[in-house]
């Protein structure tokens, strides 16, 4: 059994006087212990909402969450807030994009760390302090004793992100969710942080969900990837499989449109995906990517696109598309399973 099982997760935002917005729709994926899973998408794809829903961090007002999130056998979506608070921080921890806004600016690093240790791990004050020092050392912060007494603004962006990671791993969580953890950082600092995350997952055996827009980050870090578009997962595969055989036209277009540092022929124009994410179709009417898709055919608008399994039962590679890249036949509900 997997560490985390997300089944048919959906998130709908309702605002008075407005059409409800389905930000996440029928999302299912697994994370095994020691595995890094990437969720890739652009702004508005629903990737961050997915991670917040898994954490149970969405506000209860105006938001309805459907489906199940099972962590180590415990169903999280039906859990009450109290029990959920215990799960967060102890079993699941999150790392956010901007460490400055997610750290309390008026409390020292040391106190923010020890608080977590005392609350979730039940350590005494003295033990917590020693453990905090250990943690800072573990995430690569030099001179941890001095740092414990400092405030977030006294640290650089990279250092702050290390502190956030230290807080996240303080109680040895089973699952780590990193939401764009390096987007606000420079490349050389990004490389440091990614290296740290890679090491942590390998050493502690925890599972990790990496939410990112950067396919390069995924390529270097993740075992499995799920590509999201307009609230749904459109393609899932092992990382190598996905990059070798991108089968959803969106994944394929995205990969081709990214300028690469090791590009052999940079003088050519880049491949582009026309339009913007605003040009979309509701999923129940057809494929949301259809208006931007080069491979679009009439069938794309005849109801929700079926999921085609292009892999094997052992190495699955499902794609939500009637005409995946490299396939010439048009897939219907009836003939998708192979």
């Amino acid at each position: 059994m997997s560490l985390l099982e997300v089944r048919d997760l959906s998130v709908t935002f309702t605002r008075s006087g407005q059409q409800p917005v389905r930000a996440v729709d029928g999302v299912s994926f697994d994370v095994a212990a020691g595995q890094s899973v990437g969720i890739v998408g652009e702004s508005g794809s629903g990737k961050s909402v997915t991670s917040l829903a898994v954490m149970g961090l969405l506000p209860s007002r105006g938001v309805s969450v459907g489906g199940t999130v099972t962590l180590d056998g415990n169903e999280l979506t039906s859990m009450d807030q109290r029990a959920l608070r215990d799960v967060r921080g102890r079993d699941v921890a999150m790392i956010f994009q901007d460490p400055m806004t997610s750290l309390n600016p008026v409390v020292t690093i040391g106190r923010q760390l020890t608080e977590v240790l005392i609350r979730h791990a039940g350590l005494a004050k003295g033990e917590a302090k020693a453990e905090a020092e250990q943690l800072l050392r573990r995430v690569g912060i030099p001179d941890p004793v001095r740092r414990l007494g400092e405030y977030p603004h006294q640290l650089s962006g990279g250092m702050r992100q290390r502190v956030m990671i230290a807080i996240a791993i303080a109680c040895r969580p089973k699952l780590l969710i990193a939401d764009e953890p390096t987007t606000a950082l420079d490349v050389t600092i990004q490389a440091q942080i990614l290296d740290l995350l890679r090491t942590l997952v390998a050493e502690s055996g925890c599972g990790m969900i990496m939410i990112t827009h950067d396919l390069g980050v995924v390529a270097g870090l993740c075992d499995d990837v799920h590509v999201m578009y307009s609230g749904r997962i459109v393609e899932s595969a092992g990382t190598k499989d996905l990059f070798a055989r991108p089968s959803h036209p969106y994944t394929d277009g995205l990969l081709q449109s990214i300028p690469r540092i090791d590009d052999d022929d940079p003088d050519n124009l880049l491949h582009t995906i026309p339009g913007s994410a605003r040009d979309t179709v509701p999923w129940d009417r057809g494929c949301a990517f259809q208006p931007r898709c080069e491979r679009a055919v009439a069938e794309c608008l005849s109801g929700p696109p079926p999921v085609a399994e292009l892999g094997t039962p052992i190495v699955p590679h499902p794609v939500r598309c009637v005409r995946p890249v490299g396939e010439d036949v048009i897939l219907h509900e009836g003939n998708v399973a192979r």
Partner: protein, 377 residues
């Protein structure tokens, strides 16, 4: 002859202290002695991480920030010597494209108004009928339909807003466009559209570009020549293909190895040079080579005492300039990298830092402290 010549350009922001009587207690050396020669019709890429001074350099070239020293010559004319009035009319020759298309468009201006404004200011011929025609021309050039003229910036998507920003920059037929992070605020699938648009416009109107970006892949894709900046100075400059094939400066090597490649097989096999610690404060840059505090190839002599000049290596790499005392030895493999222990760097002195760099380069304003996993690579 070069379209743009920059000589020994310096932008130092004073750090002031004191509540009633302010006195200058130091300077943030955002740009510290930069020379550039940019050929007409080409693209010059300027890369570096936040705090390296690349945005300040771009703005100083446009004289949106007054340089403290040096000269900027555009088409044979020293623009730093011009009066404000004269400067205003020269501005039509070079334009800027900004990072955040939302912030760089006045939210209260309709498309028509924002595109007409420069035409009116510079008395573009044709009167209001001519201006209206020009507005439609510009929209067509950047791929927006005429019907958007009465719309406001908030009604557009990010990519469309950036197209508007580009249209505005083109309004007066400039020779040079300085694009400061033109795609970094956009979604990945939109970035390619804008990069292609910039390329097409360059061909069509024989434009000269200076593209400032932190994304090395984007810069490689669009530039003929690329310069790498570190702490206010250029550390390496070469034709794009040469630079990416064979980076000579240790910082460039580290920077390139840090860029993730969207290919798991490449990611698996490539070697990484992980830099230790953070960028030192530009208010108090290290003596000698500015990179020596983090350099895995640092040598016992010269590196921490003598600031290396940007020099060409005619024998080993013609056309390739690098500011490193030991570039030849590193290239020949005579020197090998060693472990670096992060070095203590003083905090930026407290006091008001100039807002303009605070906005663009986060590292300048905040207190900077070093660190990094001791020997993590």
């Amino acid at each position: 002859m070069s379209l743009l010549e920059v000589r020994d350009l310096e932008v130092h922001f004073p750090i002031k202290s004191g509540t009633l009587f302010q006195r200058t207690v130091g300077a943030v050396k955002a740009v510290d002695g930069v020379d550039l020669d940019i050929e007409a019709g080409t693209t010059f890429g300027l890369v570096g991480e936040s705090g390296c001074g690349k945005s300040t350099l771009g703005r100083a070239i446009m004289r949106l920030i007054e340089p403290t020293k040096g000269s900027v010559t555009l088409d044979g004319q020293d623009i730093l010597a011009l009066s404000e009035r004269k400067m205003r009319s020269v501005r039509r020759q070079f334009q800027m494209v900004f990072q955040d298309p939302m912030a760089s468009l006045d939210p209260r201006q309709s498309v028509e108004s924002l595109l007409t404004e420069p035409l009116r200011a510079h008395k573009f011929p044709g009167g209001s009928a001519g201006h209206a025609k020009r507005v439609r021309e510009l929209l067509d050039v950047v791929g927006l339909p005429e019907s958007v003229v009465n719309r406001y910036p908030h009604e557009f998507s990010g990519g469309q807003r950036q197209r508007l920003g580009i249209a505005r920059a083109l309004a007066l037929n400039p020779a040079l466009i300085i694009a400061d992070e033109p795609v970094s605020a956009l979604d990945v699938s939109i970035q390619a559209q804008v990069i292609n648009l910039l390329k097409e416009l360059q061909e069509r109107f024989s434009l000269t570009y200076v593209v400032i970006a932190h994304d090395l892949a984007v810069v490689r894709h669009i530039s003929k020549t690329v310069a790498v900046m570190y702490l206010g100075g250029i550390v390496e400059q070469a034709p794009a293909a040469d630079l990416y094939r064979q980076p000579l400066h240790p910082y460039t090597k580290a920077l390139m190895s840090a860029v993730p490649v969207p290919d798991p097989n490449v990611e698996e096999t490539r070697s990484r040079i992980l830099l230790q610690g953070d960028l030192p404060s530009p208010a108090n840059p290290p003596a000698g080579c500015r990179f020596h505090t983090r350099c895995p190839w640092k040598q016992a002599t010269k590196c921490d005492t003598e600031r290396p000049a940007l020099r060409e290596l005619p024998l080993v790499a013609p056309g390739h300039k690098v500011a490193c005392h030991y570039a030849e030895d590193i290239l020949a493999g005579k020197i090998t990298p060693h472990e670096v222990r992060p070095e203590e760097v003083e905090l930026t002195p407290a006091g008001s830092s100039p807002g303009s760099i605070e906005a663009t380069e986060a590292h300048v304003a905040g207190g900077l402290t070093p660190g990094g996993p001791p020997g993590a690579h």
